[in-house]
Structures are given as C-alpha cells and as structure tokens.
Amino acid sequence: MNPGRKREKRSKGGLAIAKSRFVLGVTIPLLLYESLGVFVLGWAFILMFFNYSSGRLGGPILGLGGSNPFVGLGNFIEMVKGTSVEAGLFRISLKNTLIFAFAILPLNLVITLPLAYLLESIGERFKAFYRTIYFLPVLTSSVGVALIWMSMYDPQAGWINAIIRFFGGTPVAWLSDPRAGFMGVSVAMWAVILAYLWQDYGYNMVIFIAALQAIPQELKDAAMIDGATPWQVFTKITLSLIRPTMLFVCVMTMLSSFQVFDIIQVMTNGDPGNQTQVLMLDIYKNAFRYQRLGWAAAESFVLFLIVMGVTLIQMRLLRTDWEY
C-alpha cells in the first residue's frame, strides 16, 4: 500500500464532501426563496380566473372562492365582448398602449440611429461630451422628467406654447384638451410620447454607438475602394452588420414602451377623457384603487402575452444566422 496515495484519496473524498456541502448550503436557501417566487407566480395565474377583491373576505384558501367567486375565463370573455365600464376601459387602454408603442419605436430609431452614426464619426474629445449630455435624461428619475415636461407643456406659461406663439400659431392645452389631435392621435398622447422619447433616446444611442464601434473599419474601407458611396456603405455595410443590435434595441424599446407607467401616471394619469390611459395604468387603477384584483391579474396576463408575442415576431423578422 502506498500511504501517499491513500491520503490523496481520502482528501479527495473530503474535498468532494466540502464541495457538495457548499453547493447544498447555497442551493437550499435559494430553492426556498425561489419557491416563494413560484408561489407568487402561481397565485398571479390563479387570480385571473376569479372575481377577486382584497376588500372581501372570500374562501379559506388565499381568500379565493366564497365572496370572491371563480369565474373561469369570464374575465377574458368580458374583455373581448363585455359592455361593462371596465371592459370598455380595457379596450381603450389596449388601443392606447399599441398607439404609444408603435409610435415610440420608429420615432426612437429615426432619432437614435442617425445621431449615433454622426456621433461615431466626430472627434474623440467631443464625442464623450455629447454622449454625456445625451445620456443625462436616461439617468434622471422618470418622475422628474414628467414634472419638467409638465411645466414645458403648461398652456399659459409653458415653453412649448411660447414657441408656438412666437411663430404665430395658436397655443394648445397639451395635456388637457380632449378634442385636439394630430394624425388621428390626441395631442395629450403626442405630448407624453415626446416626453418619453426625450428620456429614452440616450439609452438606445449608447447601444448603437457600441455596435457601430465594433464594426471593423476594413469592411467599410474595402467597400469605399470598390467605389461605394458613403450612403451605400451605411445602408449595405453598417445597417446589415448592426442587425443583431437592431433586434435588441427594437425588442427592448417595445418591451419598455408596452409597460410604460411612470411618465403617464404623473403627467396625465390617463386624462383627458382616457386618451392616455395605457394598460399598466389601467392595471394599477383596477388593482389598487378599485380593488378589482382578479380583473387586474387577467389584464396583466394579456399584457404579458402581447409583450411575448411582439418579442417573438421581432426575433423572427430580424433574425440573423451569421457572425462577423
């Protein structure tokens, strides 16, 4: 017998025990904590099949049943063809959320991509300065952003109307006039869209800048030598090489604009006449103001499905199967 070998064997066993102790020491609390997460998720899933209000006592298990009756798919059927006030409001909120998200995405891309491209082309010293300023709103709390823009939109003393008056136009009550609209969308909606864009474009800009920096200069040079114009280089080389980033930016922008809440809640709270009522706001009001938690849970699930669907569609459309 070789004593050295024996010792090694024993120490290896000890090591394995020490390792598995460590793993157990970490995973057991983790599993317990994550079961809480799964419990919460399961509860959210069950709630949407009930007419649940936290104001009522309900049945013995989690307050479900009894005065909080099971309604099956009732909440979802009501959403599609119900005549109740909340069903109507849900459909308005859904429409507004879609308008908001589908306005934000193209406007954001039209601003951020060219600006990022221009920013990438200028000198290093200015680049950092410009980028810092463009990034400021991203760092700002959205409540602050909302308050700043509310004072900009003030019908009397606000700067937006001051500019309009300067050019001889008629001032608009941006956040409160229910009749004013532009391109079929109310001005209040445009007003919150602009404020949201202002806060958000710096984020996509830095993402685009990082992607543009990663494109090898040789590819662009080669195209130039072959006689491509700068525009062709941009559309044929740059745009196609940043396609994965485009996908990422589109998905992230859509995800966050479908779930917009802060800015709209502070600026309009859904007014005037529910023209800026978006789904998150409707969910919040139903759950925490009107105590219709089952209904709100069902709405959350619909929002989740929409967000998932839009993400999957975008991933299909912008999929690439190459790398460089």
Partner: protein
C-alpha cells in the same frame, strides 16, 4: 486642362472635392448633434432657471428664460417646510437602495459562482428555471406580492420593498458568465492550501469580481433609486415614502406654484444625477454588455 495629363494631378483633383464634402458633412454632423444636444439640455436648464424665479414670474407669458430677480425663496420654503423633512426621505431612499444592492450583489456573486464552477445534479434544470423567472415581467407578480405584503403587515414598511428583491436573476446570469473565465487552477491551488470553500469564495473569488459587481451595483442602485410604481404601491403613508413618490406628492399638493415644484425637483433629482454622471462610464458599460435597464 493641363492637369489631366499628369497622374498625380488627377489624383489631387479627385481628392479635393472629397475633402470639401468631408468638411461640409463634418459641419452638418456638428450642427445636427448640437441641435439634439440643445433639445436634451434645455428642459434641464429651464427647470434650474425656474427654481430661482418667484411664483409670479414663473407664470408670466411669454416666459422669461433667466430669472429677472433670482431668489432663493423657493429653496428656503422647502427647507423650512416641516411637512417635507427632505433628509428623512433621502434616508428612506438610501436605505432601500443600499439594502437591495448589497443583498443582490451578495446573492448574485455566490449563486453565479456556484453555477459556474460546481457540478451537481439538477444544475441545468435549476438554471433554466432561473432564466424563465427572469423573463417574467414584474407587473405579473405585482398583485400577489402586494397581497403577501399586506398579509405580513409590511405595507407602509420599507422592509416590504426589500424582501422580494434579495435575488436578482440577471445579476446571477452576469456573474456566472464572468466566473466561467476564472481559472480552475486558482481555486484548486487554494484548496490544496487547505482553504475551505467559503474562504475560497470570500478571499479569492469575490476580489476577482470587482468589475462586474461595480457595474451591477451602480445599475441596481440607479434602478432602486428611481423606482416609482412598486414603492408607490407599498408605501402609502407619507413619512415612509421614497423620493420619487414624495416628489409627485409635493407636486400634487402645491399646484399653481410652479417655481416651488421645480425647486423641489432640483433638490430631489440633481444631487444623485451628479453622482450618476460620474459613474456614467460604468453605467454605459453595464447597459451595453447586459442590456439591463
């Protein structure tokens, strides 16, 4: 033209117009970028200027840009307002942000390290479970979380903002990626020297993780500091509120006093904004490498 006969001259002739166009496109770039810069900056400047105006001047049509008679009255009013103990609200926000960041950094590094460097049965399933939880948006879990907090009596308590935030799947994911690059020899050398697994984690792994932890920490701090919806649901009493909810409350109780509200916005937003600007490099790095917002 005589120049046509010389190849060098042809070369010069070709380059010259290009140089001109480079210059015009440069100027064009700077003009556009500066316009965007002004659009980004002017609302901030307007906020700061308004905070030094009187509540009468702020209502004037057309608006003045710079205050005519700059005054500190708004700031004085806020500091002397017994209903607005700013320091307390700052401490509330700081408590939530620091507690959440510390706990998530600890759990992320520990769990991420475990997923990267240890083999155990069920590891893939556990990790897959994590990725799934990561994709569930918070509005889905918001309602049952609220019900749990109210059952536990944690509504109106800052602890209510803390208990559901101890584990952050994204942090775990990021640390796991990073830990996979750590050489196994380093860990084994420590094991041979007789270090226990916890010692290895604390003495050897944690110091290596400073860069990703800094990124995660700053992003997490910013997210917590600016959070609005969930704190608003949990903190309904005024004295326990965090800064963003206090700001909206102050706005709704001081309608028609635009200058005062702008001063409050400056006081609540600007100090931390300056901190974030200083950490900007890390934040940008975090955004571009993780896409976490």
């Amino acid at each position: 033209m005589a120049t046509r006969t010389f190849p060098e001259a042809t070369y010069i002739r070709k380059v010259k117009p290009r140089r001109g166009s480079v210059l015009t496109s440069r100027i064009f770039s700077y003009v556009l970028l500066t316009l965007g810069l002004l659009f980004t900056l002017l609302p901030f400047l307007m906020m700061i200027a308004s905070s030094f105006k009187t509540n009468v001047e702020v209502l004037r049509v057309p608006p003045t840009f710079l205050p005519e008679t700059p005054t500190l009255d708004n700031y004085r009013t806020i500091f002397n307002d017994p209903k607005l103990p700013l320091l307390r609200f700052y401490l509330n926000s700081a408590f939530v942000a620091v507690f959440n960041v510390t706990s998530t950094l600890f759990t992320s590094s520990l769990i991420g390290y475990m997923f990267a460097k240890f083999q155990f049965p069920g590891k893939r399933i556990l990790f897959g479970w994590f990725l799934t939880l990561m994709m569930i948006p918070s509005h889905i879990t918001m309602i049952p979380s609220y019900l749990i907090l109210s059952k536990l009596g944690l509504i109106n308590s800052l602890w209510g903002l803390v208990i559901f935030s101890a584990v952050d799947a994204f942090g775990i994911f990021m640390i796991r990626q990073f830990c996979e690059t750590l050489p196994n020899e380093l860990l084994d050398a420590a094991r041979i020297d007789g270090a226990s697994e916890w010692q290895i984690f604390i003495r050897i792994v944690l110091p290596q993780l400073s860069a990703p932890l800094a990124t995660l920490g700053i992003l997490g701090f910013m997210g917590n500091w600016n959070a609005y919806l969930w704190p608003m649901i949990v903190l309904q009493k005024i004295e326990v509120r965090t800064l963003p909810i206090i700001l909206t409350w102050y706005n709704s109780t001081h309608t028609g006093q635009g200058a005062l509200v702008m001063a409050a916005t400056v006081l609540i937003m600007v100090p931390i904004l300056l901190v974030f600007v200083n950490f900007q490099r890390w934040i940008v790095k975090g955004f571009t490498t993780t896409g976490f917002k």
